[in-house]
């Protein structure tokens, strides 16, 4: 990687830079004529005589001549500004392209780092390098050559003019340049050093913030917040100190420049004045020189600030780039090569040594052979070198001496395209990617884009442009929208077959139940799969049928019925009898939607709701007014928490005295209505829902359906014959509420649903629906065990020749034992390496190597 910013710029954009300089030079004559024309217009066209003038063989009288000159002026204005516009866009684009190239190169280099290198660098440091630190480089690149060329040229022209007037004055004009040229770089050097220190310090801050976020549970559980606060505060002070130093120096440089620039006129007046008095220089020439000097200050200032920017940007570039050039970085072809060789044959270690850089992470002179198609256990506690041996076998790390071969192929000479496809490695610390379960399961099949989608018209144009840009910046041209899942590698001939295969493996590792539950909790879009929605509706009918038939069950649920009040649901659900079309809007937010507000006030039901809310508030106040806040009773059972109690006390007081002019205001009313909407009559038993009120709710519900739900696409009405996409699959299956006043109703009803789901063969599609479950950031919405199992299935789906598991399913429980047997069954004629610390488990495998302190101490 280019260590020097200018070399980097020149290497990748020499042609464009020359073009920029060329266009810049093109603007010189335009600007020159633009400045000359006004003079010509005033002196020649307005004040001149001896018309007509002959231009290109045409005769012009005074007025046409004036018009011609003015039109020329206008044209030049357009041309000069057009050129400027073009140049700016061109420079901007060049800068962005170079930035994209740089950033991608940096990212690719991160992927090329050897694994042990990541012990030395942290993501908290690398992220700001790739994102913010190089940002300034982009803006600079377009100017890198053009600005010094342009401003330098201007400076030379002006200087030449002064020297032509009088060499002595010329010398006076540049008299301060040597001093500036000497002092300023000296000062700037210090600023550069400080800038480097600042960048490094900010990186440490970023790293520490990142670490605090990762370890936030530790901070709280150890009450270490103060220590971390002090640590960060210390770093921030360091940052302040450095910046303050930088300011001081920067502004001193500015002061010095300004001073020097003002000093020169002092010499002009002194020397020029003397020369004029002595009669060696005309007064006119002196004035011209002073005017020229004024024009000199502009370019000089530009050049100086350019110099400062150059120093700043190149230091940033260097401080970034030096971190991406470790000596042992993988060759780029390791990532980009698409050649896959078949890894068949025995796995052999020949006198392999490896050092992870710390005690307990080394492997010393290990030689072993694992015949192809057998299973083998690597036994050893943590720190015995077991994990390192397995990582060496997977080609994840390279031996420092010795050779690891599979068949005739040396692992160190193979690329990711072979290692990553022919070998499956699942270690103890698995990573689950942010995305759906499906994304994670098929992650091991996404090596290269396989078939691009058909593109037409605008789409195709946009895509072509994207590809052209990628080529321009040496970014990859892989199509993200293509089909990436390599079905063939997984041994499947269609997406359905792949799904089925994944399901088989999920069952083998016993995680199908979890995915089924996730599937029940997930939402799905019926427009994608009509048949599935139809099936769910069928099951819903069956559930309803079973509930109607069996009195034991029917007492456990309240199904949604358009003409019946559902006491186990909240008043909001009962009134609206619909769900917001987007799951992001919760039921609590519905009353605040404008159309709902309008509806409520139109029908006058808001008054009723306020009364209900008021009665609830009154009851709450009465019940809880004598209860102390810290008893916990209020928070658990009341609609109102301790902090809101005084607020509602006030609202109730105002409402009670409403014979007076002012009742509760809008905000208070909204609060009261909010209380009312939360009421679940069967649970709260406050006695406010009288039969008349229930009938009224049903009435309002019908009007709401007519006037809001049917006219707006923001709601989906409860309808026994329609699949409701905003509800989970489970809620769609039951289409009602388990009664809150029956013990274990939820669980018992779930059992009924599960049996019907299994009877109707819906379990499988529900599991597939669970594939769309979003696992959260790095799989945070899954348990550690689930993450490991999903990673295991991901590895198995690859269908690799060699499977290496480390610290997976290593307990002696019956479940894990069964799982291991299942794995051996699945990997029957493949090479299977299994890392464990238990000798007992190891006896289940064909062959065993026992590792101790990096050496093979025993084998069977």
């Amino acid at each position: 990687m280019e260590k020097n910013l200018f070399r980097f710029i020149w290497r990748y954009s020499a042609r464009q830079q020359i073009f920029i300089i060329f266009v810049t030079l093109l603007t010189y004559p335009v600007i020159y004529f633009l400045l000359e024309l006004p003079k010509l217009i005033v002196n020649d066209a307005v004040q001149g005589n001896n018309f007509p003038r002959t231009i290109l063989g045409l005769d012009f009288d005074q007025i046409p001549y004036l018009v011609l000159l003015c039109l020329t002026f206008l044209t030049l204005v357009v041309v000069s500004n057009g050129l400027k516009f073009f140049l700016n866009v061109y420079k901007g684009r060049l800068g962005e392209r170079m930035l994209r190239r740089l950033r991608f190169e940096l990212f690719q280099r991160v992927l090329r780092f050897r694994l042990p290198h990541f012990r030395k660098v942290s993501s908290g440091e690398i992220i700001p390098m790739i994102t913010s630190e190089v940002e300034d480089v982009g803006g600079y690149i377009g100017e890198a050559f053009a600005l010094p060329a342009y401003q330098g040229g201007m400076l030379l022209v002006q200087l030449g003019f002064i020297f032509m007037q009088d060499p002595l004055l010329g010398l006076a004009a540049i008299s301060s340049y040597p001093i500036q040229g000497y002092v300023i770089p000296m000062l700037q050097k210090k600023v550069v050093l400080l800038s480097r220190a600042r960048v490094r310090n900010i990186r440490v801050v970023a790293d520490k913030v990142g670490e605090s976020i990762t370890g936030v549970a530790e901070i709280h559980s150890n009450d270490a917040a103060a220590w971390h606060s002090a640590d960060i505060a210390d770093r921030l002070y360091e940052n302040f100190r450095i910046r303050y130093e930088i300011f001081n120096r920067k502004f001193f440089i500015k002061f010095l420049n300004n001073f020097m620039n003002q000093l020169t006129p002092f010499f002009f007046y002194l020397i020029g004045g003397y020369l004029v008095i002595e009669g060696n220089l005309s007064i006119g020439a002196l004035l011209a020189v002073i005017a020229a000097y004024k024009d000199l200050a502009g370019p000089w200032k530009e050049l100086l600030s350019f110099y400062q920017m150059t120093a700043d940007v190149s230091v940033k570039y260097q401080t970034v780039v030096e971190n991406f050039d470790p000596p042992d970085i993988h060759d780029v072809s390791r990532l980009t090569s698409d050649d896959k060789v078949e890894l068949s044959g025995d796995l052999t270690f020949e006198h392999v040594s490896f050092s992870g850089g710390a005690a307990g992470q080394e492997v010393l002179d290990v030689s072993l052979t694992i015949p192809a198609g057998t299973s083998c256990a690597m036994v050893g506690p943590d720190g015995s070198g077991r994990s390192e041996v397995l990582q060496l076998a997977a080609g994840l790390v390279s031996a420092s001496s010795g050779k690891i071969c599979i068949g005739t192929h040396d692992l160190d000479k193979l690329t990711d395209s072979t290692l990553g496809r022919e070998i499956t490695y699942v270690g103890g610390a698995v990573h689950i990617w942010t995305g759906t379960i499906r994304d994670n399961l098929y992650y091991g099949l996404r090596h290269r884009p396989l078939s691009s989608p058909e593109r037409e018209g605008e789409d195709l144009k946009a895509y072509k442009r994207q590809i052209a840009e990628a080529k321009e910046t040496r970014n990859p041209i892989y199509d993200l929208a293509a089909e990436w899942n390599d079905l063939e590698a997984a041994g499947a001939d269609s997406t359905e077959a792949l799904d089925n295969k994944a399901l088989e493996l999920l069952e083998a590792v016993h995680i199908d139940k979890d995915i089924y539950r996730l599937g029940l909790q997930s939402r799905f879009d019926p427009s994608l799969n009509d048949a599935f929605a139809e099936k769910i509706l069928n099951v819903r009918k069956k559930v309803a049928g079973r509930i109607a038939e069996e009195p034991v069950i029917s007492g456990l649920v309240e199904l949604w019925h358009p003409d019946r009040f559902n006491p186990s649901a909240s008043l909001a659900e009962n009134v609206f009898f619909a769900v917001p079309a987007t799951p992001e809007i919760t039921m609590d937010q519905v009353p605040d939607l404008p159309e709902v507000k309008a509806f409520l006030s139109e029908t006058g039901f808001d008054g009723k709701l306020k009364q209900i809310g008021l009665r609830i508030a009154e009851t709450m106040l009465e019940l809880f007014s004598n209860v102390s806040g810290d008893s916990g009773l209020l928070g658990t059972y009341s609609f109102i928490n301790q902090d809101e109690l005084p607020e509602f006390e006030r609202i109730v007081r105002i409402a009670k005295s409403d014979q007076q002019k002012s009742g509760p205001n809008d905000a208070d009313c909204a609060k009261l209505m909010g209380l009312a909407f939360k009421l679940v009559p069967a649970r709260h038993r406050l006695g406010v829902m009288t039969d008349e009120l229930k009938a009224e709710v049903i009435e309002v519900r019908k009007r709401f359906l007519e006037s809001v739900v049917k006219t707006s696409d923001r709601f989906v009405a409860f309808d026994p014959d329609v699949y409701l996409p905003p509800l989970t699959i489970e809620d769609n299956l039951l289409f009602g509420r388990a009664r809150v006043d029956r013990r274990d109703a939820r669980r018992r009803i779930d059992d009924v649903i599960r049996t019907i789901v299994e009877e109707t063969g819906l379990r499988k599609p529900i599991i597939f629906a669970g594939f769309h479950y979003h696992v959260g950031v790095s799989g945070s919405r899954l348990s550690a065990g689930q993450r490991r199992k999903i990673a295991l299935v991901r590895g198995l789906l690859k269908n690799a020749k060699i499977t290496i598991l480390d610290d997976i399913a290593t307990s002696t429980s019956a479940e894990d034992k069964e799982l291991r047997a299942g794995l051996r069954q699945i990997l029957q004629d493949k090479t299977f390496l299994f890392g464990t610390s238990s000798n007992e488990i190891a006896t289940e495998f064909d062959q065993r190597f026992i590792l101790d302190q990096g050496r093979v101490s025993d084998k069977e």
């Binding site: 008893s631 009773l633 006043d741």
Partner: protein, 150 residues
């Protein structure tokens, strides 16, 4: 049925006799109102007790394990509280409760009951009084039983 009717029922429970109405309303509000059909279990012998039951209507059979299977030893009727022992001292349920007919029950969870006792000491006093009465009776029964044995 609303809180008012529950309070009416609670007032008839001997344990809550001396307690004023607002507190009974609070007790009713924080408990869960549950229905049981004939034959459903309220709790099973041996499991951990985390709630007490106040029977509003209906009755339940008290069953214990014996060598010949479960045997009915008593019946608890309307307006009585059962299961309060196990929420006061951590002992497993000493008997199984099975609904003898359709029942309406208020279930008070252990945590809430303890919070309520802490909050209103006069309830604790009442509970103590009731328990003391029972203890006294049990002691007398025991003495009688000993006498008849010897």
């Amino acid at each position: 049925m609303a809180l008012e009717t529950e309070v009416e029922a609670l007032r008839k429970v001997s344990l809550f006799r001396g307690i004023d109405e607002t507190k009974l309303r609070l007790l009713a509000f924080i408990s869960d109102r549950t229905e049981y059909r004939e034959g459903e279990r309220l709790c099973s012998q041996g499991e951990e007790g985390d709630s007490a039951f106040i029977i509003l209507s209906g009755s339940a059979n008290v069953m214990v394990h014996t060598d010949e299977g479960e045997k009915k030893v008593a019946e608890v009727a309307e307006n009585s509280i059962v299961g309060e022992i196990s929420i006061l001292c951590d002992v497993p349920r000493t008997a199984t409760l099975v609904a003898a007919n359709d029942m309406d029950v208020l279930t008070v969870s252990k945590d809430d009951f303890l919070k309520l006792l802490k909050e209103f000491p006069d309830i604790s006093l009442e509970v103590m009084r009731t328990l003391a009465t029972r203890l006294e009776r049990t002691t007398r029964d025991l003495a009688d039983a000993r006498q008849s044995v010897s």
